[in-house]
Every structure is written in structure tokens, then in C-alpha cells.
Symmetry: C2
């Protein structure tokens, strides 16, 4: 009936010591005579005792679990980050409660609240938009938070990502150097700072430097999905763009397939450069040129930063930028 009935008290009795002592050996407290430690360990083993993490959490006010809010695990970009997060979490003895939010402000707030109710020691948030309500809740709870692969224009939250402005500027410049004058900018909602502020800025800077006039007809806003890219193709085609920068790999693959299924040759007739360098870029044909960013590391570093925050260590910089690169595969000339 009961999950497990052996408590620290049983061990104490069997080993003829106090529960405090048992607690000490369980927690690796050095103040225990080797002999009694051995004895206790033996009893623990014999009784197959396992500390109840919930009770421990209540008493110590630390649950060794962190909440991870993710738009959709099914998206390879986010799941890659998640994997890095989990690995580092495990390394530091934490577990993660994963919750999908679909980038929906409502759900995010709700999920955050249940996470806080569960007394998570910290939170990692993925999502490109932070509603005011969410930000408010986040601040009210005095729980450490770090954004993973998401920017916070205000800089008040910990975050780790790459220099989107520079990365996009570089990739656009590349496209320009290949002779393209009309370059489509395809992304998710421009309301998301990462698109509307950072990436767009990089795009504009590159154009400006090359003396090309900005044309808002070349800006395409849609979802982060394969289907969205495919569907978008006709519109891109009629904009007379000869190349596209795309903000998400799945989306990029959609554009790629849209173009090819329409009879265009990539990169001869149309060039594409994408943003996340996920597995997908190598899986499709032609392989997609991409901004490279260390997805796994982004997650891993986020979690590492969070551990510091949770330990109340001093961190010199709450906003960490990881190196990015540009890899030319076969979707660009």
C-alpha cells in the first residue's frame, strides 16, 4: 500500500544511534566517527533505506529540482537546449520539471505558478517573449531565473544566448556578397524582441552597409513551423527575393521545400541561410547553410548559470553570450 515505509527513524533504531547521526551520514557530514558511519551505512543498506526527498525538501527548503518552461519539446531547437539543461542539472544533482507552454502567455504564467508552488529552486525559461504579467510574477517570486536561448532586452534576468545582431548581420552580408539585392527576412512574430529588435537590426545594418534600401515587403512574419515555411513560399516568390534569411530551422526547411517543390534550384535560383544549426540542417538536401550556435551548450551553460544563482554565488555577468559562427553548406553559393 505505502510506497516505502522505512524512515530515518527505523535506521536510527536498528543502528542504535540517533536520527541526527543517520541524517549526518546520509548527507555526508564529516562529523561522524568512521566506525559509526560504517555501521549506519550497513543498516541503510540492509534495510534498503532511501531518504524521502519531499520531507527533506520541506525541512531544508530546497527541492533540488528546477522548473523548465519550454515552448514545445517537439521543436528540435528547444529540445536541444533542454538536453543540455538536463545533463548539467543531473551533474549538479538536480532534476527538471519540464512544462510546455506553446509560447502562450497565459499558460506560461500558470505553469510558472505551479512550478513555484512546487518550490523549485530555480527556473529556466525558453520563449521569445516575456509578457509584463510574466515578468511581474517572475520578480515577485524571489526564485532565480535564467533565460535560455532567449533575450531579455531589459537585461534584468539572467540569460544566455548568442549575439543575434552580429550573427544576422554577418549572414546577410554574406548573402549580399553573393550578389543578392533582394533578401527576404523570414521569422516568427516581430513582436518577439529576438526578431523585431535583434535580428531585424542585424538585417538592416547589413543592408545599410551595402547601400541597399530597406524594403518592408521583404519582411515575412509567421510561425516557427515546417508547414508555415512551405505555405509561405508563394508570397516569398512574388516578392522577387533571390535569397532568404530564416529565423528557425524547421521554418527554413519549409521554405526550402516550398522553393524546390515549385521547381526552383537551391542555391542556383534561390539561396537560403538559416539560424540554428540543428540536426535538420544536415538532414535535408541541399544541406542548409546556417548561423551556428552551440545549442546543447546554450542549455548547459544556462543551467550552470542557474546553479550559481541558486547558490547565491556572485556572477560577474548575468547575460552570457556564447560564440556563434556561420557555416556554408549547400543552400548558399
Amino acid at each position: 500500500m505505502d510506497k516505502q515505509t522505512i524512515t530515518i527513524y527505523d535506521v536510527a533504531r536498528e543502528a542504535a544511534v540517533s536520527m541526527a547521526t543517520v541524517s549526518r551520514v546520509v548527507n555526508g557530514n564529516p562529523n561522524v566517527k568512521p566506525a559509526t558511519r560504517k555501521k549506519v551505512l550497513e543498516v541503510i543498506d540492509r534495510l534498503d533505506y532511501r531518504p524521502n526527498a519531499v520531507a527533506r525538501g520541506l525541512a531544508s527548503k530546497k527541492t533540488t529540482t528546477v522548473g523548465v518552461i519550454i515552448p514545445d519539446v517537439t521543436n528540435i531547437y528547444f529540445s536541444s537546449l533542454a538536453r543540455g539543461i538536463d545533463d548539467v542539472a543531473t551533474m549538479y544533482k538536480y532534476n527538471i520539471i519540464l512544462a510546455n507552454s506553446d509560447q502562450n502567455g497565459q499558460k506560461e504564467v500558470q505553469v510558472l505558478n505551479t512550478l513555484l508552488a512546487k518550490q523549485v529552486d530555480g527556473i529556466i525559461f525558453m520563449g521569445n517573449q516575456i509578457t509584463d504579467e510574466l515578468r511581474a510574477e517572475l520578480k515577485r517570486s524571489r526564485t532565480p531565473v535564467v533565460l535560455s536561448g532567449s533575450v531579455d532586452p531589459t537585461g534584468e534576468l539572467g540569460s544566455v544566448n548568442i549575439d543575434y545582431v552580429a550573427a544576422v548581420m554577418e549572414s546577410i552580408t554574406d548573402l549580399i556578397n553573393n550578389g543578392n539585392k533582394r533578401i527576404a527576412f523570414v521569422s516568427g512574430s516581430m513582436d518577439e524582441p529576438i526578431n523585431g529588435e535583434y535580428r531585424l537590426k542585424g538585417y538592416k545594418m547589413a543592408l545599410e552597409k551595402a547601400g541597399i534600401k530597406f524594403d518592408k515587403e521583404l519582411i515575412f512574419e509567421t510561425d516557427y513551423s515546417y508547414r508555415a515555411g512551405e505555405t509561405l513560399w508563394p508570397a516569398i516568390a512574388s516578392s522577387h527575393a533571390t535569397a532568404a534569411f530564416v529565423g528557425d530551422d524547421e521554418l527554413a526547411v519549409g521554405v526550402l521545400n516550398g522553393a524546390r517543390d515549385a521547381g526552383l534550384r537551391v542555391p542556383e535560383d534561390f539561396e537560403i541561410i538559416t539560424s540554428n544549426d540543428s540536426k535538420l540542417t544536415e538532414i535535408v538536401r541541399p544541406k542548409l547553410s546556417s548561423i551556428t550556435q552551440p545549442l546543447y551548450d546554450l542549455g548547459a551553460v544556462s543551467m550552470r548559470l542557474l546553479t550559481k544563482l541558486m547558490d547565491k554565488e556572485e556572477v560577474s555577468e548575468k547575460t552570457i553570450l556564447l560564440p556563434y559562427g556561420l557555416i556554408k553548406r549547400s543552400s548558399t553559393k
Copy 2:
């Protein structure tokens, strides 16, 4: 400093009732006079009180969280299941602790133990092999378990999947009808029952029915990864197979690209049929023909089954088979 200091006790004092009453309204216990309920609710709102789930878990012995052991979130097949699991979990007010195992027996046992230490109310396990040790641990803990998308030959664990034998048999038959006599069977480790028993059985049955002799040279065992498929291609080529059944989509894409990069035309020169009908099958060119299985639903149903088990409801059948299908896309004639 403290995460949250308002306790049920504060609310009780402010509302001039006992904490028992507050507990009652919080838990929706009907034995509370509407008037006092209203008063309490008001104070709760004013003080912005939120029940501490850890304390609640300790007292009630239920944490409303379930553990999910997954080989790798980054694999689209598993993440699709995970998404279904999380959605249903949310629906039933549960949260999931997600832990990656890499299908490594050691890690699985370890992860299982920390999950149990955290007093999860139930466990969903994904992974194609259950080591004896793991099975033993699973049984010892009296925690409900259901396998999601994984078979348990012994049938003692709850599980939800599709009829792999029939599905594979059907797809192989299809390949045979297209004129193929030498069909490669590409899968993960044959030690995994899903491959070595179920799928292989379907494969053999189809051959037998068509009067084709089984040739073990056509059996290829490898990892579930894109790279593995690509790497495997030369071997497949030299086996003179004219078609392949593949047990995993990423792997199948690897084989596909391996074949195409080697100059073959698919499906004219080589046919491929894969197993999971994940997003990938539609993303690549040619699109992959596949056994179809409701990935999201597999996860969702698993979680639903788990809720029943956790509630100690009677379940007529612990092994649930969901319908599968076969979709002919462009990698088969």
C-alpha cells in the same frame, strides 16, 4: 531571502478561522459554510497565499508529479510522445519530471531511484529494453509504471504501443508486392525486444508468406541516429538489397541520404519504408513512406492509463494497442 513566507497559518489568523478550515477551502472540501469560505478566499487573495506543494506532498503522500524516463528528448520520436504525456499530465494536474537515460541501463536505474526518492506518484518509461535490474527495482517500488511506445514481452507492466508485428509484416509485404526480393531490415539493437522479437517476426512472416528465404545478411543492427544510417549505406549497398525497412525515422533519413548521395534514385533504384511517421518523413525529399502511428496519442494514452493506475481504478487491459497504418509517400513505388 525566503521564497514565500505566507503560510496557511497566516491566512487562518487573518481570517479568524482555524488552519483546518483554510485547508478545507483550499482543497475544495464542501463542509464549509459559504460565508466563511468567501471570507477565507478573500484573505487568500489579499495575502496572495499559495499552498506549498512540498508540505502538502509530505502530509498527503501524493506529489502530483510523475517521472518520465526518456532515452533522448532530442529524438523526435520520443519528444513527440513526451508532448502527449505532458499535455495529458497537465490536464490531470500533474507535472512531469523528465530525465534522459540514453537507453543506458545504469542511468535508468539511477534515474529511477532519484525519481522514487522524490516520491513521484507514477512513472512513464520509454526505452526499448528493460534490464532485469531495472525490472526488479520497478517491481520493488510499488509505484505505478507504464511503458510508452515500448513493449514489455512479459506483459506485467502497463504499456501502450501499436501492433509492431502486424505493422512490419504489412509494410514488408508491400515492398514484396512492389517486386523486391532482397529487403534489408535496418534497426537498432536486436537485443531490444521490439526489434529482435516483434519487428523481426513481422519481417519473417511476410517473407515466409511470399515464399522468400530469410537471409541474415540482410539484417542490419545499429544506433537510432541519422549518422548511423548514412554510415551504414555502403554495407546495405553491398548486400544487394533493393529496398529497406527501417525501424527509426532519423535512421531512415540517414539511409535515404546515404543512398542518394551515392547516386541512387529513390524509389526507382531503392525503396525505403520507415516506422514512426514523425515530422521528418515529410521534411525530407523524397518524402518517406512509413508505418503510421499516433505518436502524440501514444504518449497521451500512456499518461491517461497512468492516471487510472495511480487512482487505483480497475483497468481491464494494461497493454493497450493503438491503431497503426501505412502511408505511401515517395520513397516507395
